[in-house]
């Protein structure tokens, strides 16, 4: 019996096996394999790492000990949104994406990985119905990547190099878009009406030159309001040969008109609301929807799974127009492609199949109802103005606290003491809104949650 420690994840660290394998190879020892690495580049001794927790039990205890310092949205009352939301995740979603067959698979072919090809084709198909478009990609990293890529696609389709972006766009997304488009494309902001939040038509018209590839806005906007002039905006873009790109919240599309119906050529966004836990913003996937037009399809960098016949009349699947991709063409490809968010695509497919048309309508209605109720309850608190900007809302509202004489920071600190996660502070990113915070009300929020929030706000602002 050897005294050498054999790790459960490394079966061939057993000395007897190693000796047998070395003999088969004709090598003296393992060190011989590293002879090609110059001495000066070799690590001397061992890496400087903490002492490990070798047993599963001690490791679990260690990691859980650290994680126990978190306070979750389940333990608190969460009203945060801003691009990641506390929606209900059906147990079936977790069941399917936890299956080893999907979780541990990677890059199998359309035969032995038929399941993931079909599931992701179904994801594309279900999303296409929700967005009312013909084409949807296998998910990219997140909504910001989808938005940035949609704008680069617009640049290639129109052969132009400037995009007009609503200045109410999420600041983080704007940063991601601007960075990703640099240095090939320029981003120009279009202003909004300070009361309604809507894009200012005259500013759009003034900036709409023949350099413009696309006009981009979010609906619902980052600030929560619904942009109602989609048709006029897309019309203005189309009149000058530009495209219209809209970032949409998929959880809204059971009740709100899909952007393609008011002229969006490309619809993009993030699937997190469709069955993904929040994971501190770490579970996301980006979608791009387009019409059935070769000119658009050929500009996708992402994988596109399609359906095809087999020799035995089965449903077969595979990659559509592979030659677009960087896997095939390196630097001559459309942007780049790699491992992104496939498992979340499968999860969203499960979610949409469970929800069906009725579920998506009820979800949208539930979010709108809670938000409308919150407008009433919070608006009744002295010194609180709801909304800080905008007319119609879906699941988020900007709430202004200027009349209370308190900052959002102070209010949120006091709310947290009462077990409430108050809205996201907008005062830095949107100083024109004064002391405002973005509050979100998903279907998991109850009337009691909203009443508790209103009472707590009344108490902390009166102090």
């Amino acid at each position: 019996m050897s005294e050498k420690f054999v790790h459960p994840y490394i079966p061939n660290s057993a000395p007897e096996v190693q000796a047998e394998m070395l003999k088969s190879i004709g090598a003296k020892d393992i060190e011989e394999f590293f002879a090609c690495i110059p001495e000066a580049l070799r690590v001397k001794g061992l890496l400087d790492l903490p002492k490990p927790f070798l047993s599963e039990a001690s490791l679990k205890r260690h990691v859980e000990g650290i994680l126990s310092k978190n306070r979750t949205s389940g333990e608190l009352r969460c009203f945060l949104g801003g691009g990641c939301w506390n929606h209900h995740v059906p147990a079936v979603c977790d069941e399917v994406n936890g299956r080893s067959e999907f979780l541990t698979a990677y890059a199998g072919e359309p035969y032995e990985d038929h399941g993931r090809f079909q599931a992701l084709f179904e994801y594309e198909s279900l999303m296409a119905e929700l967005l009312d478009v013909d084409v949807v990609n296998v998910p990219t990293y997140d909504g910001s990547q989808a938005a940035a890529t949609a704008l680069r696609m617009a640049g290639r389709i129109t052969k132009r190099d400037e995009v007009l972006v609503a200045d109410t766009t999420s600041p983080d997304r704007l940063s991601a878009i601007t960075g990703y488009l640099h240095p090939d494309m320029k981003v120009t902001l279009v202003g909004h009406d300070p009361k309604s939040g809507l894009m200012v038509g005259s500013d759009l018209a003034a900036k709409m030159t023949d350099r413009v590839a696309a006009v981009y806005f979010e609906n619902p906007s980052y600030l929560g309001f619904i942009e109602t002039e989609g048709k006029a905006i897309s019309g203005a873009a189309h009149a000058k040969g530009a495209l219209c790109v809209v970032y949409a919240d998929p959880s809204s599309l059971g009740v709100l008109t899909p952007p393609s119906n008011y002229g969006a050529d490309l619809t993009c966004g993030d699937i997190q609301p469709l069955g993904m836990h929040m994971h501190m913003g770490g579970a996301r996937g980006g979608f791009i929807g387009a019409p059935d037009d070769e000119k658009f399809i050929e500009e996708y960098p992402s994988r596109l799974f399609g359906i095809a016949p087999t020799s035995h009349r089965e449903w077969g699947f595979g990659d559509v127009a592979w030659e677009r991709t960087s896997f095939a063409k390196r630097e001559n490809a459309k942007e780049f492609v790699g491992t992104a968010a496939a498992l979340w695509g499968i999860t969203a497919a499960v979610y949409l199949s469970l929800m069906g048309p009725a579920g998506m309508k009820e979800l949208g209605t539930a979010c709108m109802a809670r938000t409308a109720y919150a407008v009433k309850r919070l608006g009744a608190v002295k010194g609180v103005r709801v909304p800080a900007i905008g007319g119609a809302f879906f699941k988020e509202i900007p709430v202004n606290f200027d009349g209370t004489g308190k900052t959002v920071k102070e209010i949120n600190k006091a709310l947290l003491e009462k077990g409430i996660l108050g809205g996201h502070d907008l005062s830095k990113a949107f100083p024109a809104l004064g002391q405002s915070a973005l509050y979100a009300f998903t279907e998991v929020v109850t009337q009691d949650d909203i009443d508790t929030l209103a009472d707590a706000l009344a108490a902390v602002t009166a102090r």
């Binding site: 088969s24 999907f102 890059a107 949807v136 913003g281 089965e314 491992t339 009820e362 947290l416």
Partner: protein
């Protein structure tokens, strides 16, 4: 009885459910899940808001999603899962470059815990201390492993990490006002295709170096001719997937530095060099690791992944924000938006937390000795397989570095098999599914003809390596004995030969069910008119 443990060939047939496309399973009125009701006051407020919605904003027709009871949805997707051969089921060493190692179950459990799953990214930092501590401590581990000074854990995969690296290189060039003079990036043909792709995306001209035909390493003379004051950066993988460590790597990075450029190390797969050699000593200014490869997070059918970007001190100011920092005095962890010349956001929020939790747990379970053993055994396993494949009829490896051992993987060739039997890589690949196996070519272009790439990792026992070799050996025998049978493979997989012509023909391709219904009736019968 089960498989003969001597012969090691399974009498396998993959699950085959003949499962319809989900839209075909719809039955009007069925429900999969209910949405919580709001109570009368909430519902009343909702009705008012809905009525006040501006004209044209209320969806006219509901989305044509299928209507299905919950059990039906469960069955459909679990059947599809059975028609998918995850790494937990096969000997997944045929997916070279991707490090298909074991993803420990305990780490999956930790990552799925509500203490990880139910966190909103914009929560007050005081409520996220555990998560921030994991992010911070993982960064410290990666610093030790690479020798670099700071890490950004945001990217959702290796290619996005490369995209972030290209953005940093761009910002570094722009910041010095060198846009017009430093406009080239040098890479090698065996470096992952995303290296040149992201370089082009950020406005650089790409120069690609090919291997020296004798040593197999990137041709140093060609490299010398390519590098000049125009060189902004080198983006290179080492070892490349042919399995040879470029022993002159420091000369490569020195030369680029001498011309005022910087060097990026693609360490997507660092499995063979953990604890052996590091980015810092080889002279790199940037590197990235794939958490879902080397550090064991599962691949999830192609993501969520996680690629982490490391930089040397002088590039820290350009990193994406926010980083996670630690206040020694108060012991508090916080989101740090300080880097003054940041490239901004490259991914929403702070990265793929569940993948980072798994990596943290994996490293903390193995420690420094364990990581070293990972590298040692992954190389032992690879050389074991290498010598056996070389003895296989019809198989070979490109004639680089004759007689030398290899690192953690090898790109092989079935050119001889093709010449002698007419059976090439594609047919072998289609046949291996019949034996519960998987094999992959490698990245294009195929400068090694009829390529296949095997990376055994540290996870598989000798018995399993032997089983995989037995499968390959059996298929090679079949190629000589009955090539016609191989041309129609697979025979025992989920489906049979797919007609790929449909997928490249704009008139016949269908990326969604609604496109299919627009083009076809029944089973691929073209719509009339």
């Amino acid at each position: 009885m089960g498989m003969d443990m001597k012969e090691k060939i399974r009498d396998f047939h993959q699950a085959r459910w003949d499962e319809p496309v989900i839209f075909e399973l719809s039955a009007p009125g069925e429900r999969g899940i209910l949405v919580p009701e709001g109570g009368p006051e909430v519902e009343a407020a909702g009705k008012e808001a809905m009525a006040a919605l501006p004209a044209g904003m209320l969806r006219a027709a509901p989305p044509a999603l299928p209507e299905m009871g919950q059990m039906k949805v469960v069955k459909h997707f679990l059947r599809l899962s059975q028609e998918n051969l995850g790494a937990d089921f096969n000997i997944d060493i045929g997916q070279g470059t991707c490090t298909m190692k074991y993803s420990p179950k305990v780490n999956d459990k930790l990552a799925a815990s509500p203490k990880v799953a139910d966190l909103h990214p914009l929560q007050d930092e005081s409520t996220l201390q555990g998560a921030l501590e994991i992010l911070y401590k993982t960064e410290q581990l990666l610093k030790s492993i690479s020798g670099l000074d700071r890490f950004c854990l945001h990217p959702g995969g290796g290619s996005q990490a490369l995209s972030g690296i290209a953005a940093i290189i761009r910002a570094w060039v722009d910041d010095q006002g060198l846009q017009d003079t430093k406009d080239e990036i040098v890479t090698t043909i065996f470096s992952h295709p995303s290296n040149p792709a992201v370089a082009k995306l950020k406005g650089f001209k790409v120069i690609t170096i090919y291997p020296d035909p004798v040593t197999g390493r990137p041709d140093f003379e060609a490299f010398k001719a390519a590098v000049s004051d125009r060189t902004a950066a080198l983006m290179i993988t080492n070892p490349e997937d042919i399995g040879l460590y470029n022993d002159r790597i420091k000369e490569f990075t020195d030369l680029v530095h001498a011309h005022g450029g910087i060097c990026s190390y693609d360490q997507a797969n660092a499995n063979g060099i953990l604890g052996i050699t590091r980015a810092k000593e080889a002279g790199f200014d940037l590197c990235f690791f794939n958490i879902h490869k080397t550090f064991s997070s599962p691949h999830g059918c192609g993501g969520p992944g996680c690629g982490v970007i490391g930089v040397a001190e002088h590039l820290v100011p350009y990193l994406p924000i926010p980083l996670v920092s630690h206040c020694e005095k108060g012991g508090r962890y916080y989101l740090d938006t300080d880097p003054p010349k940041t490239v901004g956001k490259i991914k929403d929020f702070y990265g793929v937390l569940p993948a980072v939790v798994r990596a943290y747990a994996w490293i903390m379970n193995l420690g420094a000795e364990g990581l070293l053993e990972v590298a040692r055994v992954s190389i032992l396993n690879n050389n074991y397989v290498f010598r056996k494949v070389l003895k296989m009829k019809g198989a070979g490896a490109p004639p680089y570095a004759e007689g030398e051992h290899r690192m953690e993987q090898v790109r092989y060739s079935f050119q001889r098999l093709k010449d002698e039997t007419g059976i090439g890589f594609a047919e072998v690949q289609n046949r291996i599914f019949d034996y519960a196996g998987h094999i992959w070519s490698s990245h294009e272009p195929f400068i090694v003809p009829e390529p296949f790439t095997i990376e055994p990792t540290e996870s598989y026992s000798k018995d399993e390596l032997d089983e995989y070799l037995a499968i390959l050996g059996r298929i090679v025998e079949e190629a000589y004995a009955d090539p016609e049978m191989l041309k129609h493979a697979p025979h025992r997989s989920v489906i049979h030969h797919v007609d790929h012509d449909y997928l490249d023909d704009p008139k016949r391709w269908a990326i969604t069910w609604r496109m299919y219904k627009k083009r076809f009736d029944g089973y691929f019968e073209p719509k009339k008119g």
